[in-house]
């Protein structure tokens, strides 16, 4: 079941009555939030105005948008739910399979296909969306009203994907397996520089006689441009105002400041210049210096924040940009910092709302209301963490997971085949643990813990990453937990960049032409093992996973929860340290190895 305790709200709780009426059941993503009913009310209002109410775009079109995006996000819960919705709307199974295989080949009209390409681009690599993408769709005959609904549906889908991951929602129907090969969603068109928005037509409104605007003036002192761009749908603006009021402004569970920190850090990770500028300014009015906000946006670990708030931001960032790695243990980690269940649920809702607002802004092209102190540019290399296989997989590139079938069988109750998973991955798990713990006996012991945890949490594994990567990350967490327990001073989280500077090689004598001839295989192995064991843990684990286990850079980064640049820096440093230690044994004049 979900990550939070569920409470009985009675059969007359209005959102649940509406869900039963509309779908015949109450989706688990909402049932999992009964400890804070106000969240469910706000979310239900968004869902009802954006998706259920039919105005410009037909309901089926919106469900196609949600299904394809949930598929690209590799969110099994949302895929299963939208699949079921489309079934209820009468779409034949065969057509659903075609959409699911490749929407571009599913016999949709060119206008429909292009709309899905646009919403997928917005939903997965939003910072790359430009005015051209929107005008391209308008040229296909979509009206401003339909485009607004398409953008809102995309934003809401990302909201629900994040939310369902964060609350641990379990599919209410037979889970739809997400095929490894899927749509390639993007117009491969570069953004044109300086094409600022807003992209869609909007009507000027006066806060004095337009209630949604009156709310923003009351709360913030102005009407942010992201809302000015949506005046074609006052009912949705009302629902958004109520969501902001409920999730962001209510300060009795998490504080308003804590929630603004989440908004700022997640928006920066999403490269959303707009939200960083606007909420940096809001933090300033709440008494936080601009320099402090800048630091939270740049790297919250270096910011002046309480330890618990740092952990809160670690949690939010993982949920927002690394959902495939998110699990119950992240909830438990926050609990260990003293957060109560209601606060953790609010952090999930705040993170989801941030993804909603970021996606919405990138689709609308709303310009910042304050001069940005920092402009985030969607440089393809820098955005790799958003579109990399780990988080936003390009499905075509993702090979079939060789373990998927066995994992499915274990989940269906065939316990015995779990042994096959152990046999396949023992070596890798063992090496990971040796890499972290630096001790072979302890690694053997920790292997057992790792596989037991894997078994217990197999239900949480969402198949957005490879099983083997997920397994290595659990081995990593298990190893780290043991390190902490023995109060070891070693840590994998130290800032590495500082120590990176100024690493100077001391051993500069030339090596023998064929150093491996200098000693026996057994001697070399003993020497390498001894050398690797002596490395600090944060380098040791990277050297073991990359050079011994030969995991790819991407898989290693994902398993250790590191960014690729940080991983590369540690790897380089680790390799150079090994070189330094091996050097005396392999320089031309040296004879043999002394271990």
């Amino acid at each position: 079941m979900g990550y939070f305790r569920e409470e009985e709200l009675g059969s007359s709780f209005p959102p649940f009555v509406a869900f039963l009426d509309e779908f015949g059941f109450v989706p688990h993503v909402f049932r999992a939030q009964t400890i804070l009913p106000r969240l469910i009310e706000a979310e239900a209002a968004l869902l009802s105005t954006i998706v259920l109410k039919e105005q410009a775009l037909p309901r089926i079109q919106k469900e196609y948008i949600s299904l394809t995006l949930a598929q690209a996000n590799r969110n099994t819960y949302c895929v299963t739910a939208h699949h079921q919705m489309l079934r209820l709307l009468g779409v034949p199974e065969q057509q659903l399979d075609r959409i699911f295989g490749d929407y571009a080949q599913a016999g949709l009209s060119p206008a429909d296909t292009d709309l899905l390409s646009f919403t997928l681009k917005l939903g997965t690599i939003g910072p790359f969306v430009s005015r051209d993408d929107v005008t391209g769709a308008l040229a296909h005959g979509w009206t401003d009203e339909s485009m607004l609904e398409a953008i809102l549906t995309t934003a809401l889908t990302n909201f629900l994907c994040t939310l369902s991951t964060g609350v641990g929602a379990a599919p209410e129907f037979t889970p739809r397996q997400i095929p490894a090969i899927g749509p390639s969603p993007f117009f491969a068109k570069p953004s044109s520089e300086g094409s600022s928005g807003p992209y869609l037509r909007a009507i000027e409104r006066n806060p004095a006689d337009f209630p949604p605007f009156a709310f923003f003036v009351d709360e913030f002192g102005f009407v942010p441009n992201i809302f000015r761009a949506q005046t074609l749908r006052p009912d949705i603006l009302e629902a958004e105002a109520s969501a902001i009021s409920t999730v962001l402004l209510t300060g009795d569970v998490l504080t308003r400041l804590q929630k603004e920190y989440i908004l700022l850090a997640v928006s920066a990770a999403n490269l959303n210049t707009y939200s960083v500028a606007v909420h940096g300014e809001m933090l300033r009015t709440l008494g936080v210096a601009a320099e402090d906000s800048d630091q939270i946006a740049a790297d919250h670990h270096q910011a002046r924040l309480a330890e618990a708030d740092q952990a809160l931001l670690d949690f939010a960032l993982k949920l927002a940009v690394q959902p495939s790695m998110f699990s119950r243990s992240d909830i438990e980690a926050l609990r260990s910092h003293g957060f109560i269940e209601e606060q953790i649920l609010e952090a999930v809702a705040m993170t989801s709302l941030t993804n909603f607002l970021n996606t919405l802004q990138m689709g609308l092209g709303a310009t910042p209301d304050f001069a940005p102190r920092r402009v985030f540019r969607p440089d393809p290399a820098k955005i790799a963490h958003l579109s990399a296989p780990a988080h936003r997989p390009s499905l075509a590139e993702r090979p079939v997971d060789p373990d998927a079938e066995i994992v499915a069988r274990v989940r269906n109750g065939d316990l015995d085949v779990f042994e096959e998973l152990i046999n396949r991955h023992s070596r890798r798990v063992y090496r990971t643990l040796v890499g972290i713990l630096g001790n072979e006996d302890e690694a053997r012991d920790a292997m057992q813990d790792t596989f037991l945890k894997v078994f217990q949490h197999l239900g949480d594994f969402q198949q957005r990453s490879k099983f083997s990567t997920w397994l290595v990350s659990i081995a990593g967490n298990t190893g780290l937990q043991r390190l902490r327990e023995r109060r070891h001073l070693e840590s994998l989280d130290d800032d590495v960049s500082a120590s990176e500077e100024g690493f100077r090689p001391r051993e500069v004598r030339a090596w023998a032409d064929d150093p491996e001839e200098l000693c026996s295989k057994a001697e070399i192995r003993a020497l390498v093992e001894k050398t690797v064991m002596k490395l600090p843990a944060k380098y040791r684990v990277v050297v073991v996973l990359r050079d011994l286990e030969q995991l790819s850079i991407e898989d290693t980064a994902e398993a250790l929860g590191l960014g690729i640049p940080a991983l590369k820096a540690r790897h380089l440093r680790g390799r150079l340290m090994v070189r330094e230690a091996l050097s005396p044994h392999f320089t031309g004049g040296a004879q043999g190895v002394t271990v």
Partner: protein, 80 residues
Amino acid sequence: MISCTDFMAEIANYLDGEVAADVRSQLENHLSHCKTCQVVLDSTRKTLKIVTDSGSFDLPEAAFKPIAERIMARIRSARR
């Protein structure tokens, strides 16, 4: 001009063939007249090969068997 420190910072990318053409030519230019960096590059390349070929921390299949059995026993007893 790039320094030895710059070269060290790029050495892994260089070995992995992951530097852009212009950076590559700058690195090679540095390399052509810097004996120290030649040695470090050569020995780092050899280090990598030695580490990868060493088979370190690998155990024979049989060593994992009792561990797998213990894990399966725990799982089965929990389900009963």
